[in-house]
C-alpha cells in the first residue's frame, strides 16, 4: 500500500513543540517524529500513552525473587541439608539471612535484564536491524515531523507547516 506523507523539518526543538501542538489542534495526524535527542515533554504534546515498562519490571522482579527462593530452598534445605559451619538448614526461614544477598541480586537481575529485553522487543531493536531514518540530518541537529496526508489537501497542509516554522516541507511517497 502506498501512502503519501509530508515531512516537515525543523531546526529548533521549541519550534517543533509548538508545531506539534498546532498540528494536533488542526487535527492533522502526526505519524512519527524524529529527533536527535530526547525533547522534554514531546510525548505529552503528541498525546502518547505513558509507558508500562516500569510495571513489567516490577513483575520481573517478583519472578526473580521467586526463582531465588525456590532455587535456594531446593538446594540448601530440601535436596541436601548439610551442616555447613553450623548454619541452621532445617527450614528456609531459619537460614534466611544468609540467602538475602542472593534474593536481592536475583530480583535486581531479573527486573533489569528482562525489562531491557522487553524494551528492545517493543521498540524492535536488534543488532542487524535496518535503520529507519528518513533523513540523516535528524540524528545530528534537525527535527522531522511526519504527517499523514490522508484526504487533506497537500497544498494547504504544506502551507500550514511552513507557517509553523518548518525550514523544509517535502511530500513523500511511502512504499510499504
Amino acid at each position: 500500500m502506498a501512502s503519501k506523507v509530508i515531512h516537515a523539518i525543523y531546526t529548533d526543538d521549541d519550534v517543533l513543540m509548538q508545531a506539534v501542538k498546532d498540528a494536533r489542534k488542526a487535527h492533522y495526524h502526526i505519524g512519527e517524529i524524529y529527533t536527535p535527542f530526547p525533547v522534554h515533554g514531546l510525548d505529552k504534546a503528541m498525546g502518547l500513552a505513558p509507558t508500562r515498562l516500569a510495571i513489567t519490571s516490577f513483575i520481573y522482579g517478583i519472578i526473580g525473587l521467586a526463582v531465588s527462593i525456590v532455587m535456594m530452598n531446593y538446594i540448601m534445605i530440601e535436596d541436601w541439608p548439610q551442616d555447613i559451619g553450623g548454619k541452621p538448614s532445617f527450614s528456609y526461614i531459619q537460614n534466611m539471612p544468609a540467602f538475602v544477598p542472593v534474593m536481592f541480586e536475583l530480583t535486581v537481575f531479573f527486573a533489569a535484564h528482562l525489562m531491557v529485553i522487553t524494551f528492545y522487543m517493543r521498540s524492535k531493536l536488534w543488532p542487524f536491524k535496518k535503520a529507519e531514518n528518513p533523513d540523516v540530518r535528524t540524528t545530528d541537529d534537525h527535527f522531522l515531523m511526519e504527517i499523514d496526508v490522508e484526504n487533506h489537501s497537500v497544498e494547504e497542509l504544506s502551507k500550514f507547516l511552513q507557517n509553523t516554522g518548518a525550514i523544509e516541507v517535502n511530500l513523500i511517497d511511502k512504499q510499504e
Binding site: 516500569a54 516490577f58 553450623g86 539471612p97 544468609a98 538475602v100
Partner: protein, 432 residues
C-alpha cells in the same frame, strides 16, 4: 503569614496534659520496694511452689532483677519518647543543611516548614540533657554503666569489661560530650534560621553564601557528633556490646522520620490553604526520599543484623538474642512497617502524589521508627518486663503534644515562603 489556630493549640495542650498525667501515673505505679514485686510475682505464679533454701535465694535474685526493670520502665518510656521527637527535629536540621549545601532547586518553598520542625530542637535538647543529667546524678538506673560498683575491683559487682571503658564511659565526660553536641546543633539551627530571615529582608547573595558555608561546616560537625551521640545515648544502654555501623543506623532512622514529618506538615499546611506554591511534585520528591531512606534504613538494619547473625560471636550476638527472644513481634514487626509498607505503597509514581497516601504511609513509618527506638533502648533497661502500656503511650502523647505546639508556633513566627532564597523562583515552578 501563618497563625497558630486556637483549635490546634488546644489539641496540643490536651495531648500534653493527658500525657503528663499518664507519665505521673507511670512513676507512681512503678513498684516502690522489692516486697511489692514479690507480691506481684507471687500473684502471677502461685502454682505449687515448694521453697527450699536454694530456690528461695534464686527467687530473691529474680525479684531484685525484676524490681530494677520495673523501676526503669517509666524512665525508659520517657527517654524513648523524648529521643524519638528530638531525633525528628535533628534529622530535619540535617536535611535542611543538605538542601542548602546541595543548592537544591526544588526545596526552598519548604525551607520554612523545615525551620518550623527544627524549632523543636531547643526544647527537645533541654529535655534530653535534663534526662541525661538525672541519669548521671543516679536519680534513675537506665544507664547500667553509671553504677559505680562496676568500676570498683573490690566490689563483687566489678565488671572488667565495662571498667576498661571508663575513659569514655564516665559521667563527667558523658555530660560534657552531650553539651558539646547539643550546643553545636543548636548554634547551627539558631544561626541558619537568622541568616535565612535576614536574606528575606535584604535579598542578594550575602546571607545565602554565609548560610551555605555554615551548613557545609555543620554537616561535617554533625556526622561526627551524631555518630558519637548514638554511642553515648543509645549504644550506652548496652555497655558490653558494640557495633561499628550503629551511628549510621541511628542516622538512617532519624532522617527518614524527619523527611516523613516534613512531608506530613507540608501536606497539612497545604490542606489548610497555606503554602500556595507547594505542588504535588514537591510532595512526590519528599515521598521519593521517604521511599529511598526507608530502604536505606532497612539496608543498614539488615547489614548490622546479618553480619552479627552470620558470625555468631557470643559477645556480639547477645544483643540480638535478647531482642529476638523477648521482643520478637516488635523486632521483626518493625521491618514490615519500616520496609514492606513504604516499599509497596511508595513505589508507584502516581501514589507518591496522592496526599492521603503520603500521610498514611507517613504514619506507618513513624510508628515503625518509634518501635525501632523502643527496641534499641528497652531490652537493656527493662528487658523482658516490657509492655506498651500507660507509661509508654502517655510519654508518647506528651511529647507529641509538645512537638505539635512548638513546631506550629515556630511556623507562625515567620512568613511561610523563604522569598530571599536565590532558588525560590525555580522552586515555585518546580515540576517533575
Amino acid at each position: 503569614m501563618y497563625t497558630l489556630p486556637n483549635k490546634l493549640k488546644l489539641f496540643a495542650i490536651v495531648f500534653m496534659v493527658i500525657g503528663a498525667l499518664g507519665m505521673v501515673a507511670g512513676f507512681v505505679n512503678a513498684p516502690g520496694s522489692q516486697e511489692e514485686v514479690k507480691e506481684m510475682l507471687a500473684h502471677h505464679d502461685d502454682h505449687g511452689a515448694t521453697a527450699d533454701s536454694e530456690t528461695a535465694q534464686h527467687d530473691d535474685e529474680h525479684v531484685e532483677h525484676v524490681y530494677h526493670q520495673l523501676q526503669n520502665r517509666p524512665w525508659s518510656a520517657v527517654y524513648v519518647a523524648a529521643f524519638f521527637f528530638f531525633m525528628i527535629a535533628l534529622g530535619a536540621l540535617a536535611f535542611y543543611a543538605i538542601q542548602h549545601v546541595s543548592q537544591a532547586g526544588w526545596s526552598p518553598v519548604l525551607f520554612r516548614v523545615m525551620e518550623g520542625i527544627t524549632g523543636y530542637l531547643v526544647p527537645g535538647s533541654i529535655i534530653m540533657f535534663l534526662l541525661l543529667v538525672l541519669s548521671a546524678m543516679h536519680v534513675n538506673h537506665i544507664f547500667h554503666w553509671m553504677n559505680a560498683e562496676l568500676f570498683d575491683p573490690a566490689s563483687e559487682k566489678y565488671d572488667a569489661l565495662v571498667a576498661n571503658k571508663s575513659a569514655w564511659l564516665n559521667e563527667t565526660s558523658f555530660l560534657i560530650r552531650a553539651a558539646i553536641y547539643l550546643l553545636g546543633w543548636n548554634a547551627y539551627r539558631y544561626l541558619s534560621r537568622k541568616y535565612s530571615l535576614k536574606q528575606d529582608e535584604e535579598g542578594g547573595m550575602h546571607w545565602f553564601k554565609k548560610n551555605f558555608k555554615l551548613s557545609a561546616g555543620f554537616l561535617v560537625f554533625f556526622i561526627v557528633t551524631e555518630s558519637m551521640m548514638s554511642w553515648d545515648w543509645i549504644m550506652g544502654f548496652d555497655p558490653h556490646w558494640f557495633s561499628t555501623l550503629f551511628g549510621w543506623y541511628v542516622f538512617s532512622g532519624m532522617i527518614v522520620s524527619a523527611i516523613t514529618v516534613i512531608a506530613m506538615v507540608a501536606v497539612y499546611l497545604k490542606s489548610q490553604g497555606y503554602l500556595e506554591h507547594l505542588n504535588n511534585s514537591h510532595i512526590h520528591d519528599l515521598a521519593k526520599f521517604m521511599f529511598g531512606f526507608s530502604i536505606f534504613w532497612t539496608y543498614l538494619w539488615f547489614s548490622q543484623f546479618m553480619l552479627i547473625w552470620y558470625a555468631n560471636i557470643p559477645e556480639e550476638v547477645t544483643y540480638f538474642v535478647s531482642r529476638i527472644e523477648d521482643y520478637n513481634l516488635l523486632f521483626f514487626g518493625m521491618l514490615v512497617l519500616n520496609f514492606v509498607f513504604p516499599l509497596l505503597l511508595l513505589m508507584n509514581s502516581d501514589f507518591k502524589r496522592v496526599n492521603w497516601l503520603v500521610i498514611g504511609t507517613g504514619i506507618v513509618i513513624l510508628v515503625g521508627h518509634y518501635i525501632d527506638v523502643f527496641v534499641m533502648v528497652m531490652p537493656a533497661t527493662v528487658g523482658e518486663s516490657w509492655f506498651i502500656g500507660i507509661p509508654e503511650i502517655s510519654a508518647l502523647l506528651f511529647f507529641f503534644g509538645l512537638f505539635i505546639y512548638v513546631v506550629f508556633s515556630t511556623l507562625a513566627k515567620a512568613p511561610l515562603l523563604a522569598k530571599g532564597s536565590p532558588f525560590i523562583e525555580e522552586s515555585k515552578h518546580f515540576h517533575y
